[in-house]
């Protein structure tokens, strides 16, 4: 895990109580503080627009599968005011950690995981919010339960009606989970989130990335070519309708991926994730 930019004692003093480090990204650290997770933006160059998007994105959505934003505040660290976002703390770790530890779900757990993710994504899309960076590291498992995934980190989210941002280059998101259209520099829309859900679920079910080999660097054109070629097969115990749904979600063409809602229908679930 990447080291935090501030010491535990510094953060504890700033927040006013004991803390433990949960993780770090390029712009900030996340600390557990009581039953909250506090994301401290450490980088002074962090664009305020991105912070606003994250807050806006989270404020629009209400879902058990999307992390709940409890509020925003600033904290004084090393004599500088740092913006922070206060979230509910989700015990159970994230999916990237599970993959790293080789703790993969059974086929049945994987299907439940898919249902939970689609429910959360459906709620986001119904609230006109596109996540744009769904990947194992941005999915927590509430109480460690594969059927209770929670989408985290809305730093790249945007309203469906907002203009595309280009501040981070033409492709926004994480390359290994990007849809072909994102790799081509086109705006990420709902279909891109669904592609990332499909890749993530295939990865945990298959035990490997569905398109890329580990430790290999790919140019965007090579990535697109590999996606066009199709994913690695899934284990035989994954039910055929689920394989078909995952094929649909990871389709190269955006018009072939359907919506979260129609995907849930294929799993026999309502938009709320309940049995239809």
């Amino acid at each position: 895990m990447q080291a935090p930019q501030f010491t535990e004692s510094e953060v504890a003093a700033a927040l006013g109580g004991p803390v433990s480090h949960l993780g770090s990204g390029s712009f900030g650290d996340t600390w557990r503080h009581g039953d909250t997770a506090v994301k401290i933006i450490c980088d002074v160059s962090y664009p305020p627009e991105r912070l606003r998007r994250e807050v806006d994105g989270l404020s629009r959505v209400s879902s058990p599968h999307v992390v709940r934003l409890l509020g925003t505040r600033t904290v004084d660290l090393r004599s500088q005011q740092r913006p922070t976002l206060v979230f509910e703390y989700i015990a159970g770790g994230d999916v990237a950690g599970r993959i790293a530890d080789g703790q993969l779900p059974t086929a049945a757990e994987g299907v439940a995981f898919l249902g939970g993710l689609l429910t959360g994504v459906g709620h986001m899309h119904a609230a006109q919010t596109v996540h744009r960076d769904i990947k194992p590291a941005n999915i927590a498992l509430r109480d460690g339960d594969w059927s209770s995934p929670v989408l985290l980190d809305f730093g790249l989210a945007r309203g469906a009606d907002e203009a595309t941002i280009t501040a981070y280059g033409t492709a926004v998101g994480t390359l290994a989970y990007m849809a072909p259209e994102q790799l081509q520099g086109q705006p990420a829309r709902n279909a891109a989130d669904l592609f990332a859900v499909g890749v993530t679920v295939r990865e945990v079910l298959g035990g490997r990335h569905p398109f890329y080999d580990p430790g290999t660097a790919y140019a965007p054109a090579e990535r697109i070519a590999r996606i066009s070629k199709g994913p690695y097969p899934l284990p035989p115990d994954v039910p055929e309708p689920v394989v078909e749904l995952l094929d649909r979600l990871t389709a190269e063409k955006t018009g072939d991926r359907g919506s979260a809602r129609s995907s849930l229908k294929r799993l026999g679930l309502t938009a709320e994730g309940a049995a239809a």
Partner: protein, 457 residues
């Protein structure tokens, strides 16, 4: 003979013929009102529509006269658009449009439990008053559309003739190509529409994504202008290549999926040459594109309406289209590329053979009627049509619409049985194939589409 009666040749003329100004069409011939006595309760509860017997098509404030029995209630617009019943849309013809209200009432009497009805008029095709009168008179139509035909303003992306001066006078936005969506909606409201449409400008294949996005932006503007209780359909006009070329189709499907705010999509597809009037396209890619569009709409719970789609629209009910439109004339039944020349030729006498799912030339009918399995049509128009001394294009057109409407009801989910609409359409097509098998039909009378359809089911 009036000047109009002398010069008009087809329904296209009122949109594209500059010299055909003014006047209303001739009165329809004698009413064919049926011998039954039935009335249907109007959706708003204000009275009854006579659906069978003297006065069919008219509205009465009571239905308790001796001998009158109450028919199925008329569905309201929102019921007609909820996907429970297939929506059959009749495009208003230039000729004999006064017969349409009666036809709709008769269709309701014959199949109202399994069919929702709509009418669609072309905004540049008649005066505001004429539209309003027509809309008001079509009491059996749960859905009333007055289509702006915005594609006529910028005709580079579909092949159409230049609109006539009269059409431009009636729809000034066709001249400038610019009008606010609020004004466009107002024009439709004034003309009696209860399902409002966006402009329907043609999408540009050369700039697909931007073009679809612009149409959706216009739709968002229209949604913002809706008054309480109003409904809107996103109105798109595309050339056949949009359904034939994977990239263009993907752009269309992507928006259908992404733009969740549009519950109803009204998509007009121009069939490519050499598809001729009263024949169905057999291009595999076009049909596959239609099918994918309809299936995606169904999957995403959007209502897909396919105006001017002839029996191909009926076929697409099997794939998930919510409704389709057709009319009694060559130009209203389907959206075809204009053909050059042809003026002055006598109008071909055609008859829709329901068992064949095809319109044949009158002279070819004997090939069919001699078959012991031939079923004589019992619609209200066939007796006078087939026994009259002179061929009535009006009755032939009304017979076609009546038949297409009842065919639609026949495949409604409410009657289609275990395999649903898809199964019912398949059975009907295969039955037509069997019926056509040993018949020597040639030219436009040959139901060449049936084999292609069978592959697509």
């Amino acid at each position: 003979m009036s000047r109009i009666g002398r010069r008009r040749r087809n329904d296209d003329d009122f949109l594209f013929g500059d010299d055909l100004l003014g006047g209303e069409p001739e009165e329809s011939a004698e009413a064919i009102e049926g011998t039954g006595q039935a009335a249907a309760r109007l959706a708003d509860g204000s009275g009854f529509l006579i659906v069978d017997g003297p006065g069919a098509g008219g509205v009465s404030d009571h239905s308790n006269a001796p001998g009158i029995c109450e028919a199925a209630s008329l569905p309201e617009r929102d019921e007609a658009l909820d996907g429970t019943l297939p929506l059959f849309i009749v495009h208003r013809p230039y000729f004999f449009w006064r017969s349409v209200p009666r036809l709709l009432a008769q269709l309701h009497a014959a199949a109202g439990d399994n069919l929702a009805l709509g009418v669609s008029s072309w905004l540049p095709g008649a005066t505001a008053q004429s539209h309003a009168d027509f809309s008001l008179s079509c009491a059996a139509a749960a859905v009333r559309i007055v289509d702006p035909l915005g594609y006529l303003a910028e005709p580079q992306d579909v092949r159409v003739k230049k609109p006539s001066d009269r059409a431009v006078t009636l729809a000034p936005y066709l001249r400038s190509g610019v009008t606010s969506i609020a004004e466009l909606l107002d024009m439709q409201r004034e003309r009696g529409a209860n399902l409002l449409l966006t402009s329907g400008r043609a999408l540009a294949p050369s700039d697909a994504r931007r073009s679809v996005a612009a149409a959706c932006d216009e739709g968002d503007g229209a949604l913002a202008e809706l008054k309480p209780g109003e409904r809107l359909a996103l109105n798109l006009t595309v050339s056949a290549e949009w359904l034939q070329r994977p990239q263009l189709l993907d752009a269309l499907l992507t928006e259908l999926i992404e733009q969740q705010q549009f519950a109803t999509w009204h998509v007009r597809v121009q069939w490519p040459s050499p598809t001729q009037a009263w024949t169905q396209p057999t291009d595999e890619k076009l049909l596959a594109g239609y099918r994918k569009l309809a299936a995606t709409a169904d999957d995403e719970e959007r209502r897909l309406l396919l105006p001017q789609t002839g029996l191909t629209g009926w076929l697409m009910l099997a794939s998930g289209a919510a409704g389709f439109g057709t009319g009694p004339s060559g130009s209203t039944q389907a959206f075809l590329e204009p053909v050059r020349g042809g003026g002055g030729k006598p109008k071909i006498e055609r008859y829709f053979e329901r068992q064949l799912l095809h319109t044949v030339e009158r002279t070819a009918r004997s090939v069919l009627t001699g078959d012991p399995g031939y079923a004589q049509c019992m619609c209200p128009y066939c007796r006078p049509l087939l026994t009259g001394a002179a061929w009535s294009h009006e009755y032939a057109g009304l017979h076609y619409l009546f038949s297409a409407g009842t065919l639609t009801a026949q495949v409604a989910p409410t009657v289609a049985g275990r395999r649903g609409t898809h199964g019912a359409v398949g059975r009907t097509v295969r039955s037509a194939i069997r019926f056509a098998a040993d018949k020597a039909l040639t030219g436009n009378s040959d139901p060449a589409h049936l084999r292609t359809w069978d592959h697509h089911l």
